[in-house]
C-alpha cells in the first residue's frame, strides 16, 4: 500500500517536472529572442503567492532580475496578469527601478491568477514565463505577531494570576506611592476652609485609558467628598466623559449614604475646544478659589496654564498623567505628581480592593521581563562581539526577532 503511494507520488513528480521542463526552454528562448540585441541575459523568473497575513484580495508577485535594470533604456517592469478562470488578461502596474516585488491588491479571492513580468527596455518587452496559478486568501492569524501574542499572554497571564491569588486572600506587598496621601489631605483642607475642590479628568474623551483611570480616582475622591460634604466642581471637555463622571460621583454619594446631596451640575460640560476649556477652567479657579485642584488624566499643552493659575491662587495641587511631554510642567507647578504608570496604579491603590492591587503585581512581572531582556541582550551582545561566541549571537538574534514589531 505504502509502496503504491510512493510510486504514484514519483509519477506525479516526474510528469510535472517534465511538463515544467517542456515549458521552460520555449519561453527562455522566446525571451532571449526578444531581448535587445547584444545582450544575452537569462530569463526573468516569477513567483506569485498569496500575500501573507492579510484579509485576502491580494497576491504578492516576486521576480529576479537577471540584469535588465542595468541596461540603458530600462523603463521598469510591467506586471501582466491573467485570470485563469475567465481567461482575461490585463496589465496591472509598471514598477519603478529597484523594485522586485509587488502586491497586487486588485484580485478577488474567488478567482485564480497567473502572472507574467516583462522588462521594458527601449520600448521592447522581455517577457518571463508565467507563474504558477495562485489564489488569494484571508488568514486567521497574523503570523508576524506570534511573539507579541506569546509575550502578551505571559503578561496578561501574570496579571490574572495575581488578581486571582489576591482574591483568594494572599497578601501582596506593594510599596507606597508618594502623592496618594496628599489626595486625602487636600480634600480635608478644602473641607476645613469651606472651599470647593476642582477636578479635571484630562482633556481626552472616553477612548483614552488615562481618562478612565482619572475617573476611577475620581470615584474614591468623591466618596471622601460625599462624607465630608465638601463641594466638588468638575468641568469636562467631552460629553461622554460628563456622563461617565456623573455616574461615578453619583455612585460615590450613594455608597456614602447621601444620595440626596448629589446634583448633576457638579459635573458640567464647557466646550470640546482645548483652549476654550482652559479659559473656562482658569476663570473658575480665580473666581471660586478652590482649595484643592486635581488634574488626573491625559493632558496636553494646557497642563501648565491650569497648574500655574492654580498655583497663583494657592491651592494644593495633585496631578497625574501618562503624557510624557506634560509631566515636567506638573512636576514644576504642582505639589504632587503621579508620573506615568503611577496614574494607573493610583486608581488601584485608592480602591484598596485586593484584586486591583493584584493587577499591579502582574504589571511588575512585565517590567521584570523588560529589565531582564535588556540586560541579557546587552550581556549577550558584549560577549558575542568580544569573543565571537556563536551561542551568544544566537541569543542576540532571538531577542531581536522576539521584540521586532515591524
Amino acid at each position: 500500500m505504502l509502496a503504491l503511494l510512493r510510486i504514484a507520488k514519483l509519477v506525479v513528480f516526474i510528469s510535472s517536472s517534465l511538463f515544467v521542463i517542456s515549458l521552460l526552454p520555449t519561453h527562455s528562448v522566446h525571451s532571449q529572442d526578444a531581448s535587445p540585441s547584444g545582450s544575452n541575459l537569462g530569463p526573468i523568473t516569477v513567483r506569485a503567492h498569496d500575500t501573507d497575513n492579510d484579509a485576502g484580495g491580494s497576491v504578492t508577485v516576486e521576480w529576479d532580475d537577471p540584469g535588465y535594470e542595468k541596461m540603458s533604456g530600462f523603463a521598469g517592469f510591467l506586471i501582466w496578469r491573467t485570470n485563469t478562470l475567465t481567461g482575461t488578461s490585463d496589465s496591472v502596474e509598471v514598477t519603478p527601478f529597484g523594485t522586485h516585488s509587488y502586491d497586487d491588491r486588485s484580485v478577488s479571492d474567488d478567482s485564480t491568477y497567473s502572472y507574467l513580468v516583462a522588462a521594458l527596455v527601449n520600448s521592447e518587452r522581455v517577457m518571463s514565463a508565467p507563474s504558477m496559478q495562485v489564489r488569494s486568501a484571508k488568514q486567521w492569524f497574523d503570523s508576524r505577531l506570534t511573539w507579541v501574542l506569546i509575550l502578551g499572554l505571559i503578561i496578561c497571564g501574570a496579571v490574572i494570576y495575581f488578581i486571582e491569588s489576591a482574591k483568594r486572600g494572599t497578601k501582596l506587598f506593594l510599596r507606597r506611592i508618594a502623592g496618594l496621601e496628599a489626595i486625602d489631605e487636600a480634600v480635608g483642607r478644602a473641607t476645613e476652609m469651606g472651599r470647593p475642590i476642582l477636578f479635571v479628568a484630562g482633556i481626552q474623551d472616553m477612548d483614552d485609558v488615562q481618562t478612565i483611570a482619572g475617573l476611577t480616582i475620581l470615584g474614591s475622591i468623591a466618596r471622601t467628598v460625599a462624607e465630608y460634604d465638601t463641594k466638588i466642581n468638575m468641568p469636562v471637555r467631552a460629553s461622554l466623559v460628563m456622563t461617565a463622571a456623573r455616574e461615578t460621583i453619583k455612585h460615590a454619594y450613594v455608597t456614602a449614604g447621601r444620595p440626596d446631596a448629589y446634583n448633576d451640575d457638579m459635573v458640567h460640560y464647557v466646550t470640546d475646544e482645548q483652549f476654550g476649556f482652559v479659559a473656562a477652567v482658569d476663570g473658575i479657579m480665580v473666581r471660586e478659589r478652590p482649595a484643592a485642584c486635581f488634574f488626573l488624566g491625559a493632558f496636553f499643552a494646557e497642563s501648565l496654564i491650569m497648574a500655574e493659575t492654580g498655583n497663583s491662587i494657592g491651592a494644593i495641587q495633585v496631578a497625574g498623567t501618562a503624557m510624557p511631554a506634560q509631566l515636567p510642567f506638573f512636576v514644576a507647578a504642582c505639589d504632587y505628581t503621579l508620573i506615568g504608570e503611577e496614574l494607573f496604579a493610583a486608581s488601584a491603590y485608592l480602591s484598596g480592593e485586593p484584586r486591583q492591587l493584584g493587577s499591579l503585581k502582574g504589571a511588575d512581572v512585565g517590567k521584570a521581563i523588560a529589565m531582564i531582556v535588556i540586560l541579557v541582550g546587552v550581556i549577550a551582545t558584549t560577549i558575542a562581539s568580544a569573543w565571537n561566541s556563536e551561542s551568544m549571537l544566537w541569543i542576540e538574534n532571538l531577542l531581536r526577532k522576539m521584540f521586532s514589531t515591524g
Binding site: D103, R105, F300, A301, G406
Partner: protein
C-alpha cells in the same frame, strides 16, 4: 488713584503707538542701548531678589513681553547652525528625484501655526522648486486649511510662479478625514477608500497626480507636520511600523522630545523641532522665511528666562549661606 493706574498706562501706550513712525526700525546703536537697558533692569531684579524681595509674577510677565517685542525693531544678525536631525530631514527630501510623490500630512491647527507654518512654507517652496508632487491631507480638521495658506503664500514667490504650478498635477489637497490613526490604517489598504474625493469634492480618479497612487507603496516619502495627537507618533506606529514608509517630521518643540526615541531607532527619518527647527530647515532648504525673522526675539526671550533662572538660584545660594551663618 491706584485703581486707575492700569488704565492710565494703557492710554499712554495707545498715544505712544499712534505717534510712532510706521514701520518702526531702530538703528544698531540704539538697539545695543536697549539691550543694555534690559540687562540693567535684570541686574536690578537680581539685587532685589538677593536682598530678599522676591519679585511677583507680573514683573516676570513684563520682562517676557518686552524681550519678545523690542527685538522686532532691532537690526542684528545671528549665525544659524543646522542640527543633525534637521540635516537628515533635508537630506532625505533632497535625495528624492523630481516627480517623486510626497504625502504631506498636516496634523495641526492655528495655535501651533507659528512653529509649524514656517516649516510648511519652506517645505512647499522646496517641493515646488524641485518638482516633487505633493499630496496633502490632514488628520486635524484645520490642517488642510493651514496647508492651503502655506501654498498660497509660496505661490507668490516669483521663482515658483514661473514654474506654473498646477493644482491636480503638482499638488492636491485631499482635505480632512476624521478617525485619527484609523485613517492611516485604512490608507494602508486603500487611499481611495479614505479619500474618494479631494477637498473640492472632485473625484480622485479624475486627478492626474493621484494616478497609480493607491497605498503607501506608491508614496516615496511622507512628511508629517504634527503638534499632538493624532500626529507623528501615530504615523510611526502605523505607517512606518506596518507599511514601512519613509517618514520625516516637523514637530512643535513640545512634541519633539517624545518622538526622539523613534529618531534613534531609525523609524523616523529626520525631524525639525520647534521654531529653531523651523529656521534651521529654512536655512537648509535655502528658503529663508518668517522663522528667520524670529531668531532675534526668540534668543532675547531665552536670555531673559535663563536670566531669571540664574537670579532664582543666586538668591537661593545667598539665602542658603545666610541661613547657615545665622545658624552658626
Amino acid at each position: 488713584m491706584k485703581k486707575f493706574l492700569p488704565w492710565i498706562i494703557l492710554v499712554a501706550l495707545i498715544i505712544v503707538v499712534a505717534l510712532l513712525p510706521k514701520p518702526l526700525e531702530i538703528s544698531p546703536t540704539v538697539s545695543v542701548i536697549v539691550t543694555v537697558l534690559l540687562g540693567l533692569a535684570l541686574t536690578g531684579v537680581l539685587v532685589m531678589t538677593m536682598r530678599g524681595h522676591l519679585i511677583g509674577r507680573r514683573t516676570v510677565f513684563l520682562f517676557i513681553g518686552a524681550s519678545l517685542t523690542l527685538p522686532f525693531f532691532m537690526n542684528f544678525q545671528m549665525p544659524i547652525k543646522v542640527a543633525p536631525e534637521v540635516q537628515e530631514l533635508y537630506d532625505a527630501i533632497a535625495k528624492l528625484p523630481p516627480g517623486s510623490k510626497v504625502l504631506a500630512a498636516f496634523d495641526y491647527d492655528p495655535p501651533s501655526a507659528p512653529e509649524l507654518q514656517p516649516q510648511a512654507e519652506a517645505f512647499m517652496a522646496y517641493a515646488f522648486k524641485h518638482d516633487l508632487k505633493v499630496i496633502i491631507m490632514g488628520l486635524w480638521p484645520q490642517g488642510p486649511q493651514q496647508a492651503d495658506m502655506a501654498i498660497q503664500k509660496v505661490l507668490q514667490q516669483p521663482a515658483i510662479r514661473a514654474k506654473n504650478i498646477k493644482y491636480g498635477v503638482d499638488y492636491v489637497n485631499l482635505g480632512f478625514q476624521s478617525g485619527n490613526e484609523f485613517v492611516i490604517q485604512r490608507m494602508g489598504s486603500s487611499f481611495r477608500g479614505m479619500f474618494p474625493r479631494d477637498i473640492y469634492n472632485t473625484d480622485c480618479d479624475k486627478i492626474p497626480i493621484l494616478n497609480g497612487v493607491d497605498n503607501f507603496s506608491n508614496i516615496d516619502f511622507v512628511f508629517n507636520l504634527s503638534s499632538g495627537y493624532p500626529g507623528t507618533v501615530e504615523w510611526v506606529q502605523i505607517a512606518v511600523d506596518r507599511y514601512g514608509v519613509k517618514l520625516g517630521a516637523g514637530n512643535t518643540a513640545v512634541q519633539a522630545p517624545s518622538v526622539y526615541p523613534y529618531l534613534s531607532s531609525h523609524k523616523l527619518t529626520g525631524l525639525a523641532g520647534g521654531m529653531s527647527g523651523a529656521w534651521q530647515f529654512e536655512q537648509a532648504t535655502g528658503e529663508p522665511g518668517v522663522a528667520s525673522t524670529y531668531v532675534l526675539p526668540q534668543t532675547f526671550s531665552h536670555m531673559v528666562v535663563i536670566g531669571f533662572i540664574i537670579i532664582g538660584n543666586v538668591a537661593l545660594f545667598v539665602g542658603y549661606r545666610k541661613s547657615r551663618q545665622e545658624g552658626v
